[in-house]
């Protein structure tokens, strides 16, 4: 399992907000990718409404997951591949270690895959004595730096070119430079050696196709093609929701994925991989394994409120428009999935209570829903998560929430239903706040337990006269 640091959301966010470089990088990502994606949707011949169609296709697949996964497995086996279902992270990791042992694997090259981050695969393989190299340039940078990804598509977005320059000078022994093409070339050279020598290639899966028995991998760099073409063994990991029924379902989804992820019309490389090298074919791995991971997804599927989240194709478009992600960055979310998608998926995977800050922290502004290529209603699910947190839910091992808060709201609901009680309270607070109002007419500090409200903002005092008082006076005139 990946390390879970969701409890540190607030302190990490506070740090991130003060980090000038990070703020610049985040603004840049959102400015370029966020706006680019919106424009790309507008320019679709079918219009942005195509996202609704994509939602339908994904939802249909999710509703028929059992049948689709069976068909997929059957067809991959027919193509000569092996399929393994793993119930949780530990099982998936164990299977991979076993495959590596059977094929006497010493070196591994990896394409970017969020689900392998989720199950903590790299740590396990390294602990078993293997050399694991991340090959996506961004992932490679953060692996060298010993960090974790801060964005689903652009994992090293928090690093400046100067930082990358220093890192490469130290780790790759090249002269310091901050020129992106030169740095890319240095990584290209170092990684080419790794690709050519690796025993095993590991990839994720973007969207499998059940009827033909293929997974698909998508990249712009070509690293995933390298990792799945040159080594002897290819192991692909896929979250169990990442499948569609028919080949033609990919049509709309790939077009939208490219737009959502990178404001492109089409990704640089998309590969359909159905099994190992076919007999008589020129090249490709000798063995192909597909590990399909549940790791909590069945529980999401079983809950009608959250099932929709399984439509997600991890494109990161929602990160690129989220005002919260745009300020606190990916690391604050404390788990591989960040931004709006993380705020819903992470609590569902690691525990609603444990990751409550993530969905409490989002603003419900709705930008994510408009940016999502498959039109997932994230704001609705953020609210549903908040409701579960308060009411508690045994299926999610969540005890009923904060009693103090609950009694406060019960008292409030009593008060606003009783006219004279309400007026009395209003009069009292109007008196009290006169003492707190500063010379500029604003309240800078409220006493406990309301002090949290004024920690980062001022409050306007209540008007001297209420609307009702005004109304009555006007009636008299």
């Amino acid at each position: 399992m990946a390390e879970i640091r969701t409890e540190h959301y607030k302190s990490e966010a506070r740090k991130a907000i003060k980090d000038r470089t990070l703020q610049g990088a985040l603004a840049d990502v959102q400015d370029r990718l966020g706006k680019g994606t919106a424009k790309a949707y507008r320019e679709l011949p079918e219009g942005p409404g195509l996202r609704l169609k994509a939602h339908e296709i994904r939802m249909q697949a999710v509703e028929n997951l059992d049948i689709l996964l069976e068909t997929l497995a059957e067809n991959v086996r027919e193509n000569g591949g092996k399929v393994i279902f793993a119930e949780d992270a530990a099982a998936a990791v164990t299977e991979c270690l076993e495959i590596a042992r059977r094929h006497e694997v010493r070196t591994v090259v990896k394409g970017k895959s969020m689900v392998t981050e989720e199950i903590g695969l790299n740590e396990a393989l390294t602990a078993a004595g293997m050399e694991v190299t991340e090959t996506d340039l961004g992932e490679y940078i953060i692996q060298l730096a010993g960090e974790s990804p801060s964005h689903i598509i652009a994992p090293a977005i928090h690093k400046t070119r100067q930082q990358v320059g220093r890192l490469f000078a130290e780790k790759l022994g090249i002269p310091y430079t901050e020129d992106p093409p030169t740095l890319t070339q240095a990584a290209r050279k170092a990684l080419r050696e790794k690709f050519l020598a690796a025993d095993m290639g590991i990839s994720g899966c973007n969207l499998a196709c059940a009827e033909t028995g293929h997974i698909t991998t998508v990249s712009n760099e070509g690293n995933i093609r390298m990792a799945t073409t040159l080594p002897r063994v290819h192991v692909a990991f896929m979250g169990m929701e990442r499948v569609v029924a028919r080949l033609e379902d990919h049509d709309i989804l790939f077009r939208l994925l490219a737009r959502g992820a990178a404001a492109q019309h089409m990704a640089g490389y998309i590969s359909y991989i159905g099994g190992p090298r076919q007999p008589g074919h020129a090249d490709g791995p000798d063995a192909f394994y597909l590990i399909i991971i549940d790791n909590g997804r069945s529980r999401i599927l079983a809950d009608e409120d959250f099932r929709e989240m399984l439509c997600c194709i991890r494109c990161a478009a929602c990160l690129n428009v989220c005002p919260v992600y745009g300020k606190i960055g990916g690391h604050s979310y404390g788990y591989p999935y960040s931004g709006p998608v993380g705020a819903v998926v992470t609590p569902l995977l690691v525990g609603i209570d444990r990751a409550k800050h993530l969905f409490m922290g989002e603003t419900l502004c709705g930008a994510c829903k408009d940016a999502c290529p498959v039109d997932i209603d994230i704001p609705r699910m953020l609210l549903a998560l908040r409701a579960r947190l308060v009411e508690g839910d045994r299926r999610w091992n969540t005890p009923p929430g904060n009693l103090v808060e609950k009694s406060a709201y019960t008292a409030w609901s009593l008060a606003i239903r009783n006219r004279s009680l309400y007026d009395g309270l209003r009069w009292l607070s109007a008196q009290a706040q006169q003492l707190m109002t500063a010379r500029d007419g604003m309240i800078h500090r409220l006493p406990f337990p309301f002090s949290g409200w004024t920690r980062s903002r001022d409050m306007k005092p209540l008007a001297r006269k209420t609307f009702m008082q005004h109304w009555k006076e006007m009636q008299k005139e």
Partner: protein, 200 residues
């Protein structure tokens, strides 16, 4: 021809030159010029690796380039080899600075090549060399993904697995934007892609 125009227009912003050529002789001359003009990325010696494919064999490149002392390897599949890519072919692919392939289809809408694996159609040839040259016939250009998926399902002699175990879509040369979102070509795959379209 309309599709070709669309293709050229879509390819331009992707850094993907689409070069229409009439006839095999003209194509051979154009490819040979490219091979002579470009320089290898990893070593000093030039060699080329190409698919055994009717469209490419027609260009007669080994003869065309022999006078310039540039070898053209056209590896054959060796079904008996137990490793993923036979030793000799691997060396040829790794040492060549240009890889020449055909393609199954080309989508005009997005300037995307569709390439399936096959007996003499090594996946590595469109991937490992620094420059990828693709040669297609005019009638291989189709409209878009919708048409592609429809065609794949209808192909008469494609057997039960009409996709083969590896079908790749290639749209432009390899690229990355992982350092401060700066677009750089040539991350891991080919730095350049040149697409020649044979006009009958």
């Amino acid at each position: 021809m309309l599709l070709l125009e669309k293709l050229i227009q879509q390819a331009a912003p992707l850094n993907l030159p689409v070069i229409p050529v009439s006839g095999a002789a003209a194509a051979a001359a154009a490819v040979s010029r490219l091979v002579r003009e470009k320089n290898p990325e990893w070593g000093d010696t030039k060699s080329v690796v190409a698919w055994q494919h009717p469209l490419i064999e027609e260009l007669n490149l080994p003869d065309e380039l022999a006078e310039h002392h540039i070898p053209v390897h056209m590896p054959e599949a060796t079904p008996q080899t137990a490793v993923s890519i036979s030793g000799q072919m691997r060396t040829q692919v790794v040492e060549s600075f240009i890889g020449i392939t055909a393609a199954d289809y080309c989508l005009a809408e997005t300037a995307t090549l569709v390439i399936r694996s096959g007996p003499d159609q090594a996946r590595a040839i469109s991937l490992v060399p620094s420059i990828h040259v693709a040669v297609i016939a005019l009638d291989q250009i189709i409209a878009d993904l919708t048409e592609l998926y429809a065609l794949l399902k209808q192909e008469p002699n494609s057997g039960p697995n009409h996709l083969t175990n590896c079908m790749t879509f290639i749209t432009g040369p390899s690229k990355t934007a992982d350092i401060e979102l700066n677009m750089v070509h040539g991350a891991h795959g080919p730095r350049e892609l040149h697409l020649f379209v044979l006009i009958p």
